[in-house]
Symmetry: C2
Subunit: 275 residues, 2 copies
DNA sequence: AAGTGGTCTAGACCACGCA
DNA sequence: GCGTGGTCTAGACCACTTA
């Protein structure tokens, strides 16, 4: 008994997969709209016990875990499982390259809907050894130190993304770039004053699941992918002056930018390893 | 017994989570490099049976499933679990907006490493009703039909991404745009001949886990996120002429583009709903 | 207090793919 | 054939949150 597939002789679809498919379809067709509750494990056990002879709660849970890991539902104890509802901010890679506006505005500018939420940043400045990725992107000598400016950007104290910038230590030591707080004129302007106006940006996006550390820092739920955005900024002489590593949670952002016919794509080959 | 946490009185870390953390650390520090095999379930049961008193295979499997869903390992029956190894192509949103080169070159151009693999495309043309997303992006009247040009791009017959373009049916009916095969001069050139040269592109990236359909069409493993890339192309009069919906598997691509200081970001507000 | 999901056990049988 | 992971059972006890 149990495990009814589609045709005799064909590999039958596992029961837990049928349960997941059933629920996914009902979520897609609006039976369970975003934010609504789906049946509890006990309810599902009863239902699929009649339909497919399921007897074990584990089988139900296995089906639900498929949808949890797909980012479609989330458990809220002791209520039950709920269909996930997302609100996305606009993330603009191009905004990273402004020189004029105050730096805080870069993040403020990311917010399309002005829904009354207050953007804040936690800023932390340190001196670190460069990782391989940073060393290659900034074309550093082996062992060369970099200054790190790490930020956690929040909206009403909810973290929205991570933003870590790195420059050669010798370039910014003793300057405002290393001030551990807001810099009114913007840190990009500081680099400009130092003779390294940022004129060209090269952007790489790597899609992956988050690390446990990122899950904690960004309060990510299961099934939420992130984009690791590497923005390398070059000065007028064509040398990389700064690299910014952004971690963008997929459930809270839409990444947006524009292109023009005239800015014909003529990208450099990537001369470095991926993170 | 079992379930040793960090401190008495604190919520102990579940055993399966400790197993997952252990293995993740060993993968990160090179004990298990990409492509290598990790211990089998039976081996792990023996090991953690001694360490933490684990007695059930399910507990081991639960720990392994964490890493599977994180995209770090994959089961290869009947060998065991292996650390995932990725090779990424370069995906260039800007290349979508070229007019001159043959369209096949757009995909060919995506390939950074010329490693002898042959790019091919399966092309399918049809007439469909517009979805809400397409209708809003192309500013269609309710019920207006669109022409769809759907492509699956492959490398040595392995699917790499999905690429579906849509235009108003009235714009391209009877033209080469609807030719179900390669169009030597490129379909963008066809739009140019029709008086709709594409001069401006607006790009949106939505990060999410794939649908079961996408898992099948792209042969995606578990724990692999995708980017849904909406590229809306505008003609010189400022009207949207074409929207292309790309589905980009995160494990096979790095998304790359460039920005210049002069092309100051001045993006339009998004006047439409997300997919 | 009640009900929810979270964790874990100790088995069982099966499908698959390699040797 | 053999060992691998895949599926499923029938329980158990626990932690948590809300009513």
């Amino acid at each position: 008994m149990a495990a009814s597939g589609t045709h005799v002789g064909m590999k039958p679809t596992p029961v837990y997969q049928q349960i997941a498919d059933d629920l996914r379809r009902q979520i897609a067709d609006g039976t369970f709209p975003p934010g609504s509750q789906i049946p509890t494990e006990a309810d599902l056990l009863e239902k699929y016990g009649e339909l497919h002879g399921v007897r074990s709660r584990q089988t139900i849970r296995q089906g639900l875990s498929v949808l949890v890991n797909a980012g479609l539902i989330e458990p809220r104890r002791p209520k039950g499982y709920f269909v996930i509802e997302r609100k996305r901010l606009v993330y603009r890679p191009q905004a990273e390259f402004r020189q004029k506006p105050p730096e805080v505005d870069i993040f403020t500018n990311l917010i399309q809907e002005e829904d009354g939420r207050t953007p804040t940043q936690d800023i932390e400045v340190s001196i670190v050894e460069a990782t391989a990725t940073i060393r290659e992107h900034l074309r550093l000598e082996p062992g060369e130190l970099v200054a790190a400016r790490r930020r956690v950007r929040k909206l009403d104290d909810v973290p929205y993304n991570l933003n870590d910038s790195y420059v050669r230590l010798s370039l910014v030591q003793g300057t405002d770039w290393m001030h551990p707080g807001d810099v009114a004129r913007g840190t990009n302007a500081v680099l400009g004053e130092l003779g390294h106006e940022l004129v060209y940006g090269f952007h790489e996006f790597y899609l992956r699941m988050p690390t446990p550390d990122e899950v904690l820092r960004l309060s990510l739920g299961p099934g939420v992918p992130v984009a690791e955005h590497l923005a390398t900024a070059f000065d007028a002489s064509g040398n990389p002056a700064q690299i910014t590593v952004n971690v963008i949670p997929g459930d809270r952002h839409v990444i947006v930018f524009e292109t023009h016919r005239d800015s014909e794509a003529n990208l450099p080959r990537i001369p470095w390893g991926a993170p």
